[in-house]
C-alpha cells in the first residue's frame, strides 16, 4: 500500500527582479517585475508504507519545497499528491494527526522551556490522554536516551541533544509516517550517528515510514532502502540504495603498505596512483577494466605486502557525479535556490 503518491507536482514561486543601484530600486518600486521560478517540476513518485525513502539533492534542488507540500504547508501550483490517503493542502489538520515532522532548521521545542513541557503541550495538541502522554514520554526517553535531558531548558542543550529531543517529540503521537527535513544538519559525526540509530530503531519497532531529505549521503547509506535524487526540482535518479552502489560504485580505493621502501615513480598497469609515501601508496582502479584479482597480483609482485585496504569511494562522490550529469538545466522555468 502506498503511503505517498505524487503525480506531476509543480510549484512555482514569483521572484521579484531588480536591477542594481538606486535607480533599479525606484524602477522596482513603481514598476516591479517578477520572474516565475520553478522549485518543483512535474515531480512524480510513490512511497510504500513503512518504507525508508531518501530524498537527496543539493541546496535549492526542491527537497524542502516538496516536503512542505506533502505536509500541507505549501499549496502546489499544479499536480496531485496523496499522503496516507489525504490531499495535504486540503486536509492538513487530519493529516497532521497521522504524520510527524521534523524540520532540522526550524525547532519545534520551546526554546525557553525544558523539552518535557513541549512534550506535554504536544500531548494536548495531538489530543492524547494525560496518562498516555506520560507513558509515551517514558518510552521515547528510553528509546532516544534523553531521560536526563528532558528537564533541562532547551536553550541549554547541545544541537545533537536537541535534535534527539526534536525527533522524539515528532513521534509522541505514534505517527504512521515521519517526514524529516535535514534532521542531521549541523551535527557532528557522533550526534549524526545517534540520530540515525534512533530513527532506524523506531522505524523498525513501530513500522513508521520515513521520508528523509538530506544533502548528506551518510544519512542515506545509514537509513534508507531506496533513494530519489532530485536536482533542479526534477528526479534525476531513483533506485534501491544497494543498486545505486552497484551501478555507480565501480571504482575502488586501495591503500597498501610494503615492508620495504617503494620507488618514487611507483605505478602499476590499470591503476591510477593517488598518493605515494615512503612505504605506502594509495591507488584507485575501475573494476570494469581491471579485475580485483589482477590488481592484487600486481600489488604483491611489486613488493612484500604488510597491509592492504580496499574500499568504496564515499557515496557523496557518486552522488556528485550524478548531479553533474544532470547539471544542464531543463527548459521552461528556471530553478530555485530556496
Amino acid at each position: 500500500m502506498s503511503a505517498i503518491t505524487v503525480s506531476h507536482l509543480q510549484k512555482n514561486f514569483q521572484s521579484k527582479r531588480k536591477t542594481a543601484g538606486l535607480t533599479g530600486s525606484f524602477q522596482s518600486l513603481f514598476k516591479p517585475e517578477y520572474n516565475p521560478i520553478a522549485a518543483v517540476r512535474n515531480l512524480s513518485f510513490e512511497m510504500e508504507s513503512g518504507e525508508l525513502l531518501g530524498f537527496i539533492g543539493p541546496n535549492g534542488a526542491g527537497k524542502s519545497t516538496t516536503i512542505k507540500i506533502l505536509t500541507g504547508i505549501l499549496h502546489p501550483s499544479s499536480g496531485e499528491a496523496k499522503v496516507l490517503g489525504y490531499t495535504p493542502w486540503k486536509e492538513r489538520q487530519k493529516l497532521a494527526f497521522q504524520i510527524g515532522t521534523v524540520f532540522g532548521q526550524r525547532p519545534q521545542l520551546w526554546y525557553h522551556l525544558p523539552a518535557i513541557d513541549t512534550f506535554t503541550l504536544f500531548g494536548k495538541i495531538y489530543e492524547l490522554e494525560d496518562a498516555e502522554t506520560k507513558k509515551r514520554i517514558s518510552f521515547l526517553a528510553e528509546a532516544f536516551e534523553i531521560g536526563d535531558l528532558l528537564e533541562t531548558p532547551v536553550r541549554k542543550l547541545s544541537l545533537g541533544q536537541r535534535m534527539r529531543c526534536e525527533v522524539a517529540a515528532s513521534l509522541l503521537h505514534k505517527p504512521k509516517l515521519l517526514l524529516l527535513d535535514e534532521p542531521s544538519i549541523g551535527l557532528d559525526v557522533v550526534a549524526k550517528q545517534h540520530i540515525r540509530d534512533a530513527i532506524r530503531t523506531m522505524s523498525e519497532q513501530e513500522k513508521v515510514g520515513v521520508l528523509l531529505t538530506s544533502h548528506d549521503a551518510g544519512d542515506l547509506e545509514a537509513l534508507c532502502h531506496r533513494v530519489i535524487i532530485i536536482n533542479h526540482g526534477q528526479i534525476v535518479y531513483q533506485d534501491k540504495v544497494s543498486n545505486l552502489k552497484r551501478k555507480f560504485l565501480t571504482r575502488k580505493l586501495v591503500e597498501v603498505r610494503y615492508a620495504e621502501e617503494i620507488r618514487k615513480d611507483f605505478a602499476l598497469k590499470g591503476m591510477e596512483t593517488l598518493k605515494t609515501g615512503r612505504y605506502g601508496v594509495k591507488l584507485t582502479f575501475d573494476t570494469r577494466a581491471t579485475p580485483a584479482d589482477a590488481v592484487l597480483a600486481r600489488l604483491s609482485e611489486a613488493g612484500t605486502l604488510v597491509d592492504i585496504t580496499i574500499s568504496d569511494p564515499p557515496l557523496e562522490e557518486v552522488i556528485a557525479n550524478i548531479y553533474q550529469e544532470s547539471a544542464s538545466e531543463p527548459s521552461e522555468l528556471p530553478c530555485l535556490e530556496k
Partner: protein, 260 residues
C-alpha cells in the same frame, strides 16, 4: 472542547516561558502600571483645568482608558503573537503551526505572552475603580466591555498583519495602525465630527475599542451592546477571512530559526 484544552495548555506553556525570567516578568508588569499612571496623569491635569470637553469628563476618561488598557493587556497576555503575526508570515515561521493539527491562526496568535500585558490588564481595573463607578453590576459590564474591546483590537491587528501575505512585510504599517487605533480609542469621542466618526467605526475601528464599550460600562443599553457585538464579530470574521485568503499565497521560507 479539545480546542479549549489546547488553548489552556498553550497559555500555561506561555506563562511558564515568561516566568522563566521572573525579574523581567515582574519588572515589565509593574513598569507598565507605572507607565500608564504617568501617562494618565496628563489627562487628570487637563480635566482639572477644563472640567469637560463637549460633555466628556474625567470619569469618562477613567473608564475609556481603563477598558482600552485592559483590552490591550488581555490581547498581549493571551494572543501576544497578534503583534508580530506579519513578521511570522514574512519570515516563513508559519511552517511550525501548519505542521501541527490545530487551527493555524489561533495556534499562531496564542503562542506568545507579552509579560507587560499583565500590567495593562491590572491597570485597567485600577482605572475603573478610580472612576468611582465601581459596583458589582458595573464591574460585570466593564468586564464584558473589555472582552468585546479586546476582540475588535485583536481582529484589527490580525487584519493589518495579514497584509504581509501580499506586501511581504507589514511591520511598519502595523505599528502605525496600532498607534492610530490606541490614540483614537482613548481620545474623547465628542471631539470628532460625523465624518471622522465614520472612520472611527470602519477604517480604524477605535470607537469600538474605547468610546462605545466605555459608554456601555457606564450605562447598559441593548442598542450599544448589539452595536459592539456586531462590530467585533464582523471585524473578527473579516480578519479571519483575510488571513485564510492570504494563507493560500504563503510561501514559507528557508531562514534558520533557533527560537520558538
Amino acid at each position: 472542547m479539545n480546542t479549549l484544552k489546547f488553548l489552556f495548555a498553550l497559555w500555561k506553556a506561555n506563562l511558564q516561558s515568561v516566568m522563566e525570567y521572573r525579574i523581567s516578568f515582574l519588572s515589565q508588569m509593574f513598569g507598565m502600571i507605572l507607565n500608564n499612571s504617568i501617562y494618565f496623569l496628563i489627562w487628570v491635569i487637563f480635566f482639572d483645568r477644563f472640567k469637560d470637553v463637549r460633555g466628556w469628563g474625567v470619569t469618562d476618561m477613567y473608564v475609556t482608558f481603563g477598558i482600552t488598557a485592559s483590552a490591550f493587556g488581555l490581547i498581549s497576555l493571551l494572543f501576544g503573537n497578534t503583534f508580530n503575526l506579519g513578521d511570522i508570515i514574512a519570515r516563513g515561521r508559519l511552517d511550525y503551526y501548519l505542521s501541527l493539527p490545530k487551527p493555524v491562526l489561533l495556534h499562531a496568535v496564542a503562542s506568545r505572552t507579552v509579560a507587560s500585558g499583565m500590567g495593562d490588564l491590572v491597570y485597567g481595573f485600577l482605572s475603573f475603580a478610580a472612576s468611582g463607578l465601581l459596583t458589582p453590576l458595573s464591574l460585570l459590564r466593564f468586564i464584558l466591555a473589555i472582552l468585546l474591546s479586546a476582540t475588535i483590537f485583536g481582529a484589527f491587528l490580525i487584519l493589518i498583519q495579514s497584509l504581509a501575505f501580499w506586501m511581504g512585510s507589514a511591520s511598519n504599517l502595523s505599528m502605525i495602525a496600532v498607534n492610530a487605533m490606541l490614540t483614537f480609542a482613548i481620545y474623547p469621542i465628542t471631539l470628532f465630527d460625523s465624518s471622522a466618526k465614520i472612520i472611527l467605526f470602519t477604517l480604524i475601528p477605535a470607537a469600538f475599542m474605547g468610546a462605545l464599550p466605555a459608554s456601555f460600562a457606564q450605562n447598559f443599553t441593548w442598542e450599544i451592546l448589539f452595536q459592539m457585538l456586531f462590530g467585533s464579530l464582523a471585524f473578527l470574521a473579516l480578519a479571519i477571512l483575510i488571513f485564510q485568503l492570504g494563507l493560500r499565497r504563503y510561501e514559507s521560507g528557508s531562514g534558520i530559526q533557533v527560537e520558538v
